[in-house]
Symmetry: C2
Subunit: 191 residues, 2 copies
């Protein structure tokens, strides 16, 4: 994709690195961030422990890469909802469906997300996450305060659902998001 002639050595390496990264995400889902070790990830990927240390010098590198990958996946889902005729409804459905399918992946996302609070190197990635959300909101309102409220609501709703064990349905989520979006201007509306 990037260059016409690929180095077969590097290509194989990147494929392997991706395998390890996916394994790392599964480990985070299963055992939390604390469970991420070189050995555990390599074992999950069905590879020798040395390979994990080769591709990720420190355990921190591994977590950083995992967050980036997690945010990428999130951004993709977000973009899909953004392009829908009713972004708010689409997002509400997406979030509810994710929670219903299983909490572990969502927990993993937020554990990695929170990791950015301690690592300045991750702030740009976290910011991207919020920006994508704001882009969705701006399709429905011009009020910047409403955009902030909307973004905060999304993270707050998910976080609270996770920690309290509640399972809000799509309509409940949508109602809250719609309210946050309403803002001072009565209707930004879809054009």
């Amino acid at each position: 994709m990037t260059a016409e002639a690929v180095d077969g050595r590097r290509a194989k390496g990147e494929r392997r690195r991706a395998l390890l990264l996916e394994a790392a995400l599964r480990v985070v889902e299963r055992d939390g961030v604390a469970g991420v070790t070189h050995r555990a990830v390599a074992k999950e990927a069905g590879q020798p422990p040395s390979s994990a240390t080769y591709y990720f010098e420190s355990i921190d590198d591994l977590l950083v890469a995992a967050l980036v990958r997690s945010v990428d996946a999130y951004a993709a889902r977000l973009r899909e909802a953004t392009e829908s005729p009713d972004p708010v409804a689409a997002l509400a459905e997406t979030l509810a469906a994710e929670l219903a399918r299983g909490r572990a992946p969502v927990i993993a996302e937020y554990e990695l997300y929170l990791l950015a609070a301690r690592r300045p190197a991750l702030r740009a990635t976290a910011q991207r996450c919020v920006d994508d959300l704001a882009a969705l909101a701006r399709r429905c309102t011009g009020d910047p305060v409403a955009v902030k409220a909307f973004c905060a609501c999304v993270d707050g709703l998910l976080l609270q659902a996770l920690v309290t064990g509640a399972s809000p349905d799509a309509s409940g989520i949508e109602a809250v998001l719609r309210l946050a979006m309403a803002g001072s201007e009565p209707a930004g509306g879809v054009p």
Copy 2:
């Protein structure tokens, strides 16, 4: 406080346990949840390692107790704001001041908070946190959806401030919270 005649042995024990718990919170602030080990906490408390294993059988017990303590402190601050003439403004000031004083304690709170997502035993404590927030909101609006939006906004604003490194001021926070509180009814208002 609880009984008239206290057992000196148990009293000493509880004092020591409290010391360890405070040390544990400092460790979480400094090194994150991952840094919490029996030895690290004992060292932080200036006590022999064995004492940590005596009072907290597993490392999980320690974290659970730490979360409960953290939520207790949060609830106290929340109650203070709730009793203010303008709860929303008071809460906004409290949150902004906390962020300004230092992010580490807030990060620690959320790391522990998120811990509840994996431990059913902690859900009640996390729920209490949300309930206290909802109680504050209900002093300003009767709309249950607005209450939910308000609670979500508080967690979302703090979480996003932490992960993006932003430092919202009191007025910015207040504006967002006020919007979430507004709801469909134009004014619940303070009586």
